[in-house]
């Protein structure tokens, strides 16, 4: 009979569990590599080389990490309040769309005005995107998991519609893409001859601000109280509905910023394939981070490394780049399992305790 005893303190396992989970997921990648018939050690070496091999490789990881930090924070903030925002992908696109809307010529101003403007507008758009599901939850009791998920599909179709309509670039040779973001609204590059842009700084600042707000303000305490026990929080005089709406706004805004960064920092214009699922991957990042804002930065770097490494390896050895998605999803499951062992001591006894 298996016995579960809750541990008094998770101790080193609290930090160790995600690290072990990440390593286990990477190690398990050997199985699909073997199935694909790739030389396993050489494939790992190629992955490491694609991540650490050059300064350019490392800046690629940082470039990938920027949106993942933001969508990871979006999930972490919401999940802290047990508000299940699975709509990060849609909110990212709302942010990007808003940035394109104001940043492609609607307003002409110097960068000092334009850059904050696209950031604020994008964040607002993302926030409003999650406000909808949160309102339906608080007002009608509609499950926000389903509504925020379905909104992803609605928003993506809406983006396609806009790209074939009002936002379409007349000079785009018929491709469904927006006009380019004005130079004044584009986020500056951080390093010559790389793709690294100021979106990374925005992401890091967002992580720091989120950490401070969640840990040291009354609002953060309220949000966590709602997450731990909404009934008790209500009893303690916290306006739970309002807390949900606030969290929704913050969470959606973070995801929206990810979209602004991608469109104004990296791509320069909006297409319907702007994000390879950063909104969904953000959930993995948040869970790997144990919902901690600082942890999100580390977890986003890990996940970005997996994507860049697997991409490079895939190009060199002809293994499908879906390997990266496989490793990332396995690391989510591994961190859940590791978290279980961090919370419980599992012992084997001959007889069941009655």
């Amino acid at each position: 009979m298996i016995q579960l005893t809750p541990r008094e303190e998770a101790g080193w396992l609290a930090v160790g569990a995600p690290v072990i989970a990440g390593l286990v997921a990477l190690a398990l990648a050997a199985i699909p590599l073997a199935l694909a018939g790739a030389p396993i050690l050489a494939a790992y070496a190629q992955m490491a080389n694609s991540v650490f091999g050059s300064t350019f490789a490392m800046t690629e990881v940082l470039t990938r990490a920027a949106p993942l930090i933001l969508t990871g924070l979006a999930a972490a903030v919401a999940f802290r309040a047990r508000l299940w925002n699975i709509g990060g992908e849609g909110q990212l696109y709302l942010g990007a769309m808003a940035a394109v809307w104001v940043g492609t010529g609607m307003i002409q101003a110097p960068p000092i005005v334009m850059i904050p403007l696209v950031l604020v507008v994008g964040a607002l758009a993302g926030g409003v995107g999650m406000l909808g599901p949160a309102y339906l939850k608080t007002r009608f009791g509609a499950d926000e998991v389903v509504t925020s998920l379905l909104l992803n599909f609605i928003i993506l179709i809406f983006v396609q519609m806009m790209l074939e309509g009002p936002l379409k670039d007349p000079m785009g040779l018929g491709w469904p893409q927006s006009e380019p973001i004005l130079d004044e609204a584009a986020l500056p590059k951080l390093m010559e001859r790389t793709r690294l842009h100021a979106g990374l700084l925005i992401a890091l600042a967002a992580a720091a601000i989120t950490f401070v707000i969640m840990s040291f303000t009354i609002w953060g305490v309220r949000v966590r109280a709602v997450g731990e026990n909404p009934a008790a929080a209500r009893h303690a005089g916290i306006r739970v509905s309002r807390a949900y709406l606030g969290v929704a706004m913050a969470s959606g805004a973070l995801a929206g910023l990810a979209g602004v960064g991608e469109v104004a920092g990296l791509k320069g214009y909006l297409t319907a394939d702007l994000s390879p699922g950063y909104g969904y991957t953000g959930i993995v990042v948040a869970m790997l981070a144990g919902l901690s804002p600082v942890g999100v930065v580390v977890a986003a770097l890990f996940v970005a490394g997996v994507f860049v490494g697997a991409d490079g390896m895939s190009r060199a050895m002809g293994v499908s780049s879906f390997l990266a998605d496989l490793v990332v999803s396995v690391s989510l499951i591994a961190v859940l399992v590791a978290g279980f062992f961090a919370r419980f001591r599992v012992t084997w006894s001959k007889r069941a305790a009655s």
């Binding site: 499950d143 379905l150 609605i154 989510l332 859940l336």
Partner: protein
């Protein structure tokens, strides 16, 4: 207006509705079974993908169609078992575990497909299920609507009856429902809460996989990336709409199918005036509206989302 009337009077409209409803019927039944036992299974979207890929792949490798269906069901059961172990035996968050299963299942399916077929210009095709009884399709209305469907649609309809019968008329069904409502009472009767839940989740997940298999083996004849396209999530909304009853689940899926068939037809009519994307959004918007309408009255299984451990209240 006459156009609308014409649509509602045409057999092909009802045939299309049932065809569109079929994967949803499988999916809603699967989700219903899991949730009745107290386990939300957000792995559904990924399990659809796995079912679609493995059923198709089995046939493409030379198996016959029914072996392909079996392969899909087994693949669904494997990922269902993973979700069951994580949520039932380890008591982990059903939300997060389910999303994890969806990500894992869909990336595993995509990776397998890409590894088996590295670079193909157009997706290879299989010989899919054909109409059950083309000879009977001359019968007015019923002919085209029912007999032109494939065996998988008939299987879906039969499963509605089976799931209803098991849940409402057998001791097993009573136990499954009780485990989702009041697991302590089930435990007091000497039944294993966790085994019942495990069984329900595994069975439910294989039903979900059949929904995916229908897409590649009946609705289409090939596997595409992104072909499931949120159908799994729509099923999660439909279960709530159906208040966890198989009969209402069938009704909900068919209503949904009718709506979708209608929007496709209206799209061809009104396409010049309204952007086609408005119609593409409609099914998702409808799901949200349906959810909001029933949300206040919804009586969730009382132990849904709650892990159960012996001797813990």
């Amino acid at each position: 207006m006459t156009d609308l009337l014409q649509i509602f009077l045409s057999d092909s409209f009802y045939a299309a509705s049932l065809r569109i409803a079929t994967p949803l019927i499988f999916g809603v039944l699967g989700a219903l079974l899991c949730e009745r036992a107290g386990v939300l299974n957000l792995g559904i979207e990924g399990i659809f993908v796995v079912g679609a890929m493995s059923g198709w792949m089995a046939v493409w490798l030379g198996a016959d169609l029914w072996t392909g269906v079996l392969a899909a069901a087994l693949a669904g059961a494997v990922f269902g078992a993973l979700h069951a172990v994580l949520t039932i035996f380890m008591g982990l968050s059903q939300h997060v575990s389910g999303l994890g299963v969806t990500l894992f299942a869909s990336s595993a399916a995509y990776f397998t497909y890409r590894t088996a077929l590295p670079e193909v210009a157009s997706p290879p095709r299989i010989e899919p299920f054909r109409a059950v009884a083309p000879a009977l399709s001359e019968i007015p209305f019923l002919g085209p609507v029912l007999f032109s469907q494939t065996a998988l649609t008939w299987l879906a309809l039969a499963l509605v009856v089976l799931v209803w019968w098991v849940l409402d008329r057998t001791p097993l069904g009573v136990a499954i429902k009780a485990v989702g409502d009041n697991p302590d009472a089930v435990n007091a009767q000497g039944l294993s809460v966790r085994r019942l839940r495990f069984g329900a989740v595994v069975a439910g997940s294989s039903l979900m996989a059949l929904g995916g298999a229908f897409l590649t083996m009946s609705a289409f004849d090939a596997f595409f990336f992104g072909m499931v396209n949120g159908r799994g999530w729509i099923c999660i909304a439909l279960v709530i709409f159906a208040s966890w009853r198989p009969g209402k689940a069938l009704l909900g899926a068919i209503l949904f199918g009718m709506f979708d068939a209608l929007q496709v037809r209206l799209q061809t009519e009104a396409g010049a005036v309204v952007p086609g994307q408005i119609f593409l959004m409609a099914p998702y918007i409808l799901s949200i509206v349906a959810l909001v309408v029933v949300a206040r009255r919804a009586e969730y299984p009382r132990a849904l989302l709650r892990p159960w451990f012996k001797g813990q209240r």
